[in-house]
Amino acid sequence: MSKTQISRRHVLTLCAGIGVTFLANPTFALTAMAKRKLVVIVCRGAMDGLSVAVPIDDKNYPNLRGDIVIPAKDTLKLDSDFGLHPKLDGLYALAKAGQARIAPAVAIPERIRSHFEAQDLLESGGAHLYSVSTGWLNRTLLSLAPGSATSALSVGAQEPLILRGKAQVQSWSPGGRMTDEMDRIATVLQDLYKSDPLLGPAFASGLSTEMTAEELGGDQTFQPRAVKKFATTTAKFLTKEGGPSIAVFSLDGFDTHANQGSSDGQLAIRLKLLDDVITGLHEGLGNVWKDTVLIAVTEFGRTARVNGTRGTDHGTASTMILAGGALKKGGIIGDWPTLADSKLFENRDLAPTLDVRQVFKSVLADHIGVDRKALETTIFPDSLTMAAVSGLVA
């Protein structure tokens, strides 16, 4: 199985001199950065990476997976080593255009198999569990120069940890429509909330986002599971003049302990939703797609072997998906550890070859223009040894 092309690509970057131009012209850099968009999709429940990017050339894969194997012929071939799940056809089209890549063996900093602790670690950006209580995207906002006008939007009824912290973020989900009477009540409430540190800022931000949503138009009625519509509305927010630079989505239901399915079935349904979100954003962002990086990430992967009920249990490494017009064209990110018995982590899981923070740091530095020092100290504390992967962003 192949090693990655990281180091080779890194050399190419330097030769092309893109990095040099960038550094030499800070004003250009700042204006260009201001347009950049970052979308993070948190796939909750532990997404089975081996079914997202199927290791079609790994001879151990079919034996380990038994009933839930995804036949190589069904996959959408990225290269001789990996094929995407057949339901990820939107993502596949992007990959073929050089606008999507996968990192097939990434993991959070600690080896834990609790969904909830692992999601905490993934979203807090800490090196250890419970070492940080706010989200790394919130600390990213705090690190950017005052007046950079960068803001973030959470899409959904609940605010995810990844965006929680001192910086006020926006949140939106369908079903909030304001009427004239409500405007009047809102005025009274803003007065009642004026010394309330929690409700005051949240309500003010919510009202302004709702106004934007109404200006943006479109159908704002609530439909559960209509994720593509969520995605297109999010795209409208992002493309609006002065709109947020960062948006976060959650997709749940990836905890496939029984009857996981293969090319079709339970997991396939989820992956189709994920593909709908990615496609919806791609379509909705239009011109802005070229300035966008999208990351889809999960708390951990699933066992390499199928379990006794045609599903998989909690594992370790999983696949991370990167997409967007701002990505640099390239192959898989990080090494493939292989599924050989001797390589499995604790004789059961795909072993990680990359830490999630190595990808996050790279995107924040090269795409959003976050200061390297802030990355190592406040955004991802104690992460010096986890060097950013280079050459992900064009």
Partner: protein, 463 residues
């Protein structure tokens, strides 16, 4: 502390929000009023008719093939009666509506009960042992699970509650235990069946000792082996077994098990029961439950002295949940004057009906839809850890606007018409009503507007 705040603390923090006259009922002896709601026979039951587990499972059997086909294309929440053909429609429609009936009946109970502490206590345990509607099979069992395994046991011993939950078909189906087989069991040897560790892990992590208890992956796997055999009667089983807990020795992994340092001899089903009892009695379980209870009732960051008192009570009484409830009521830390808990969407909507002295009438429009929009449709927690009750999860900007949307529509129908807005506020919040809220209410243009302002006030949003 101000003595006059105690009644409102009793009815909002311990209860579900005041119904008219409730503050007066609690005023004389707030602690006594709460303690009188504790009863050995458990929580109240939502008003039916609501079918029990075997009935629900029998309906599923009838539809099995068709559901399988449909599930290939759709997830449970997308299924519609019209997807089913002919007379099958007549079966699936009541089934999907049945889930709605469960949600509705339980919300009506919460809105109307005169024992709101008892109900809040039951809701804690129902959430602690989450069975969610993410699959159709578990969706139709969420209501029966709560009514059969949880409600009767919430004032008994924790051990019995844990066993009731861990042997109920709803939990066995939701966390994939029903088909788990030991690799060396007869079924594992003869048929293509094997281990599933989902329930084992979540019992340890979520229901008992908690993720920081120091157990390893090997402990989880061993416990999963111990649980093999816990199953549900299927169509091929005898009629009296169908849809009920069934121990299948064919699935049971033979051998002794070593879990968290203790060795268990193989006595079939008793082995797992023994482990469950040990987990229930573990000091880490006492701590986990105590911390969670204190956070649920008092504050997102509860005082450690309160956690300590609850833990001591739990350990000294071998997990007597009535005693635990009394300990909570007696703890001065639980009566801090400042209202520190931000209501979850369910608590907010229920307390709205209680303040209005009403109850929802339309299951879909008044209960399922608004709670879905606010992100907390009952029985639909996206993950097995259940709903969060922390402000950081619910007080998001967009969520505040949704609350206003709901409050202003709700007020159009339910604003009390026979009292002044200020009296309505006093009836709901007593001594909590601030001067600025009073002013805002007197300036409101209508009773409707005033009631919406009351529901959205900082005082009403917290408990």
């Amino acid at each position: 502390m101000t003595a006059s705040l105690e009644p409102v603390i009793a009815v909002t923090r311990f209860g579900l929000g005041a119904r008219p006259q409730e503050l007066q009922a609690a005023a004389n002896d707030p602690r006594g009023w709460l303690k009188s709601q504790i009863r050995k026979q458990g929580a109240d039951q939502p008003k039916g008719p609501l079918p029990d587990t075997p009935d629900r499972v029998a309906t599923l059997f009838t539809l099995r093939g068709e559901i399988k086909d449909l599930k290939r294309e759709k997830s449970y929440s997308e299924m519609k009666p019209e997807d089913f053909k002919g007379e099958r429609k007549d079966i699936i429609l009541p089934m999907l509506e049945g889930v709605r009936d469960e949600i509705f009946a339980r919300t009506v109970l919460a809105a109307q009960t005169a024992a709101p502490f008892r109900e809040r206590w039951a809701l804690f345990w129902a959430n602690h042992f989450t069975v969610s509607s993410s699959k159709l099979q578990s969706a139709v069992l969420c209501g029966p699970f709560e009514r059969e395994a949880i409600r009767p046991n919430v004032f008994g011993r924790f051990e019995d509650l844990l066993i009731a939950s861990s042997t109920h078909p709803g939990m066995l189906v939701y966390l994939d235990q029903a088909q788990s087989a030991g690799p060396n069991s007869l079924a594992g040897q003869l048929r293509d069946m094997g281990l599933n560790e989902n329930l084992a892990r979540e019992i340890m992590e979520l229901h008992t000792v908690g993720a920081d208890a120091g157990y390893t992956q090997a402990d989880v796997t061993e416990f999963a082996r111990a649980l093999t055999g816990f199953s549900v009667g299927a169509k091929r089983d005898s009629r009296s077994e169908q849809g009920r807990f069934l121990y299948r020795s064919l699935l049971h992994e033979p051998g002794t098990r070593k879990i968290m340092g203790k060795t268990y001899a193989d006595r079939g089903m008793d082995l797992a029961m023994h482990v469950l009892k040990d987990l229930a009695a573990h000091p880490k379980t006492a701590e986990h439950i105590s911390r969670k209870l204190a956070a649920y009732f008092v504050a997102d960051e509860p005082p450690s002295s309160l956690i300590g008192k609850l833990k001591t009570s739990f350990l000294e009484t071998q997990g007597d949940l009535s005693a635990l409830a009394e300990t909570l009521i007696d703890a001065p830390e639980a009566w801090q004057p400042e209202a520190q808990k931000f209501k979850t969407p369910y608590e907010f909507i229920v307390s709205g009906y209680r303040a209005a002295g009403g109850a929802p009438a339309d299951p879909q429009k008044e209960v399922v839809l608004p709670l879905t929009v606010l992100g907390q449709r009952p029985f639909a927690s996206p993950q097995p850890n259940g709903w969060s009750d922390a402000a950081s999860d619910w007080a998001a900007p967009g969520a505040m606007v949704k609350r206003l949307t709901w409050a202003s529509r709700f007020a159009e129908y339910y604003a009390p018409q026979s009292t002044s807005p200020v009296d309505a506020a006093l009836s709901a919040l007593g001594e909590r009503v601030s001067g600025s809220l009073r002013t805002a209410l007197t300036r409101a243009e209508s009773r409707t507007e005033a009631f919406a302002i009351l529901l959205m006030s900082p005082e009403f949003q917290r408990r």
